[in-house]
């Protein structure tokens, strides 16, 4: 990706503080250029594992919201809908957990571990 294309995408999603990670991910996914087809990563983690599976070997899924203190108590139920389509799925959270209160972050990690 050349500098011009990068700048163009940055204007769509300004690279400010906590959105930095999303900017990084959205650059390839939003581009209508040929780069998206040549994107090769082992695992691309997004909100949509079907999209992720097109561009990576191991699809990834943001199952936990790091910007909310609401607990994803029905995580196993939510993930069941992907079981038939993805024999392997990388499950994680969508941002750093240190922007959550510690006790909530701990519970989210427990939920994540419990899924396995």
């Amino acid at each position: 990706m050349n500098n011009n294309e990068l700048k163009q995408d940055e204007t769509i999603v300004p690279p400010i503080a906590h959105d930095c990670q999303r900017v990084f991910l959205r650059i390839p996914l939003n581009s209508k250029n040929s780069h998206i087809n040549s994107l090769k990563v082992y695992s691309l983690i997004t909100e949509d594992p079907y999209l992720s599976s097109k561009y990576s070997n191991l699809p990834g899924y943001f199952a936990l919201d790091s910007t909310s203190t609401k607990l994803e108590n029905d995580l196993p139920g939510e993930l069941k809908r992907f079981v038939d389509d993805f024999p392997e799925l990388l499950i994680t959270h969508n941002n750093y957990l240190d922007f959550l209160p510690r006790k909530i972050a701990d519970k989210k990690v427990e939920l994540l571990g419990g899924v396995a």
Partner: protein
């Protein structure tokens, strides 16, 4: 000379004396009231000794910090624990989990005390609705706009109550919005929620305090539509301490003037002339230079002089010396107007 020229004011917080800060969180309501009142008297004395025209609320001695103070007085928001804001700084971030309702006034103790002391030259800082929204987890309202507007209604309720208590005299209110320009795409939310905060309240002079903005231009774009009379902004932090420098930190004063000219309402600028993040005491000459620079663009009856932000992070001695030099510099500039 007009007595409204170059009025000096503080911005809000001032370092608490140790007898208050060390025990603050463990005090019961009566103890807090007693010690915070004592600290307020002492801080007002310092302000008056420095010569400030406006003494604010005497350094926000009743408040631990600007976010937690109001949200602890609301129903519908819970605090799970401290959350990182940046670097190694933490604050108690609230989660909005239900419809918000104000269960106790945020600042009535302060205004009651100031009225008892017969102080007229006050300005009450109130954390603004956009910042309250931005610094909270939203787990109830449809989106950030809706939550900001709800905070706007709550702030309106608070200001209305303070004004009713204050009576007929003009009451200066300062809405603190450090988050105002942190999400450039949300300036409509900033505009609407601040306007909601002051909607249909008469007899108040509305100040807006914004600091450390990545781009004041975002704010200046909405100036014509904001129901704000004074913009108290930080400039010194982005300026050089060198007396002979080009005052690059004050380049946005010209941009403010351009925004000011678009509206027919009389609005003014509160000029930050001392940096609250450093212990260096800016000299009288340096502050004079900064004021004179701003006077090239803003008429003296529309220009007020203040520190960049609250002085809580500096010692009381450093805070006092900064304010004293600020007042001395202003008086010297006034002599030649």
């Amino acid at each position: 000379m007009n007595s409204d020229y170059l009025l000096t004011q503080e911005i809000g917080s001032f370092r608490k004396p140790e007898y208050l800060s060390r025990k603050f969180r463990s005090l019961d309501e009566n103890e807090l009231n007693e010690l915070a009142s004592k600290a307020t008297f002492e801080t007002i004395e310092l302000y008056e000794k420095a010569g400030l025209d406006n003494i604010g609320v005497g350094g926000e001695m009743f408040r631990w910090e600007m976010y937690e103070h109001p949200i602890r007085r609301l129903d519908g928001i819970i605090v799970h624990g401290p959350v990182r804001s940046f670097d190694n700084r933490y604050y108690n971030k609230g989660s909005v989990v239900n419809k918000l309702k104000r269960i106790k006034s945020f600042h009535m103790e302060e205004i009651q005390l100031l009225k008892k002391l017969k102080k007229k030259n006050i300005k009450i800082p109130i954390t603004g609705p956009y910042t309250l929204m931005d610094w909270s987890f939203n787990e109830y309202y449809r989106d950030r706009y809706e939550l900001a507007m709800e905070f706007g209604k709550i702030v309106n309720q608070e200001i209305r109550e303070l004004k009713e208590f204050w009576g007929d005299d003009l009451l200066h209110i300062q809405i603190d919005e450090p988050a105002a320009t942190t999400h450039p795409a949300e300036m409509t939310t900033v505009l609407d929620s601040i306007n909601e905060s002051v909607r249909d309240i008469n007899g108040i002079e509305v100040h807006l305090h914004v600091c450390y903005s990545i781009d004041y231009g975002l704010l200046f774009n909405i100036v014509p539509d904001l129901k704000v009379d004074y913009y108290n902004l930080e400039f010194a932090n982005r300026d050089s301490l060198n007396l002979n420098a080009d005052r690059i930190g004050y380049a946005d004063v010209k941009r403010f003037k351009d925004a000011m000219d678009v509206t027919s309402r009389k609005i003014g600028l509160g000029l930050g002339v001392t940096d609250v993040h450093i212990d260096d005491i800016e000299t009288v000459d340096l502050i004079k230079n900064r004021i004179k620079y701003a006077l090239k663009f803003i008429e003296p009856d529309r220009l007020r002089i203040n520190p960049d932000c609250g002085l809580r992070t500096r010692s009381r001695e450093v805070g006092y010396n900064k304010l004293k030099n600020m007042v001395d510099a202003t008086r010297e500039v006034l002599k030649n107007l």
